[in-house]
């Protein structure tokens, strides 16, 4: 799990640095929307992480304060966490029978 999360977080960082120097309001809004979509998916699987919501809150605060670079970075992290929790839920749906005491 830690691997996919780090991988996903790293990917989103790379995307940010190659973008225009300063992220714009639209970049921030787009990043927040992507994060929110991933979070909805995690919610649907009833497997959200508390840290996802915490990152998303910071991202929104940064966007509201006009710090769009931070907002995009933090939204990326929230999205990565949400995606990791989705992957966890899907993986566990297959794996749990193996853990059962037999």
């Amino acid at each position: 799990m830690r691997k996919t999360m780090v991988l996903a977080a790293a990917l989103s960082l790379v995307a940010v640095t190659t973008a225009a120097f300063a992220a714009s309001a639209d970049d921030a809004k787009a990043a927040l929307a992507k994060a929110e979509a991933a979070m909805k998916q995690a919610h649907a699987l009833k497997n959200e992480w508390t840290t996802t919501a915490a990152e998303f809150k910071k991202a929104k605060a940064a966007a509201d304060a006009g710090k769009f670079d931070d907002a995009v970075k933090l939204a990326g992290e929230a999205e990565a966490l949400a995606n990791a929790s989705v992957a966890q839920a899907k993986e566990q749906e297959k794996l749990w029978p193996e853990a059962v005491v037999r």
């Binding site: 566990q92 297959k94 749990w96 193996e98």
Partner: protein, 280 residues
């Protein structure tokens, strides 16, 4: 990359293993295996002592528990629950009219599968259903009123063995399976399942706390926790467990919570009710 290879190997192992279609679960077989696992792993712990959770695992904690349980702080909750039980609703009826045996000495039968609605009914849900059926507002399932009334109902059932039934009804079997799945599924950023702590690590410490064995773990609920400085219902206990592994707690009354309590209490059939309990 380890994660990917592990998952691939797991899928292969799944199909190669005797074909356990996801659909069928065997509660009786699970029950025997579960009981065997704990009694073999902790041969010195008397069967009925598993209901005392961490205190069946650690002498030092047991001594402190005995000192506190001599005159435990949950006595106020039991007293309050007793008065609530005796106070009729506005329509003149009372809890006694909702429950078998007037609600006294019946905690060991919950969670109960309701064949009419096809749903698992935990003691907390039953209390709220009784209130709503009599025109009263339901209690917040994680707060003190619910803890007080369930503390009194548990107190009247102390020593009675768990008697959880899974009727011959596919919906009951599905609920049991849902509970088992919840219990063994890893969640939260720490990626633990209930089993990671309460099956693989009972008796070990998470800082000062000693992990309770899963066998008999619902027998002491509701509990007065020194850490909370107050009573905690089953709902509150599940929600804080989720938060500890950085998983978002589910809303009170969620069917997954009822299902995992159904599974856990079924696994504890025969073990005596020890609630309400005092815990760290």
């Amino acid at each position: 990359m380890l994660r990917k290879t592990f998952m691939a190997a797991a899928i292969v192992a799944c199909t190669a293993a005797p074909l356990l279609a996801a659909g069928d679960v065997d509660p009786q077989a699970d029950f025997k295996a579960f009981r065997k696992y704990f009694t073999e792993r902790f041969p010195k712990v008397p069967l009925n002592d598993f209901v005392n959770g961490p205190y069946s695992m650690d002498e030092g904690l047991r001594k402190q528990w005995k000192a506190i349980d001599e005159f435990p702080p949950y006595e106020f909750a039991v007293e309050q629950g007793k008065q609530m039980f005796a106070t009729p609703f506005k329509n003149g009826k009372s809890y006694a009219d909702c429950f078998p045996n007037k609600g006294i000495g019946i905690r060991q039968m919950y969670p109960m599968f309701d064949t009419k609605t096809g749903k698992v009914v935990t003691l907390e849900l039953a209390v709220n259903q009784c209130r709503e059926a009599n025109g009263e507002k339901p209690f917040d399932m994680a707060k003190d009123d619910m803890a007080a009334i369930t503390a009194y109902m548990a107190f009247t059932s102390r020593g009675k063995p768990f008697d959880i039934k899974i009727p011959d009804d596919p919906r009951a079997l599905a609920a049991y399976k849902k509970g088992e799945e919840y219990f063994y599924s890893r969640r939260g950023q720490l990626n633990f399942s209930c089993a990671s702590c309460h099956v693989q690590n009972p008796g070990n410490h998470i800082r000062t706390e000693v992990l309770a064995p899963a066998l008999g773990i619902t027998a002491a609920l509701p509990i007065y926790r020194s850490a909370w400085g107050g009573m905690g219902t089953t709902t509150r206990r599940f929600q804080t467990c989720n938060a500890q592994v950085r998983g978002e707690p589910l809303p009170a009354g969620d069917e997954d919570y009822s299902a995992v309590e159904y599974f856990l209490s079924y696994m504890s059939n025969g073990l005596p009710i020890s609630g309400p309990g005092a815990r760290p």
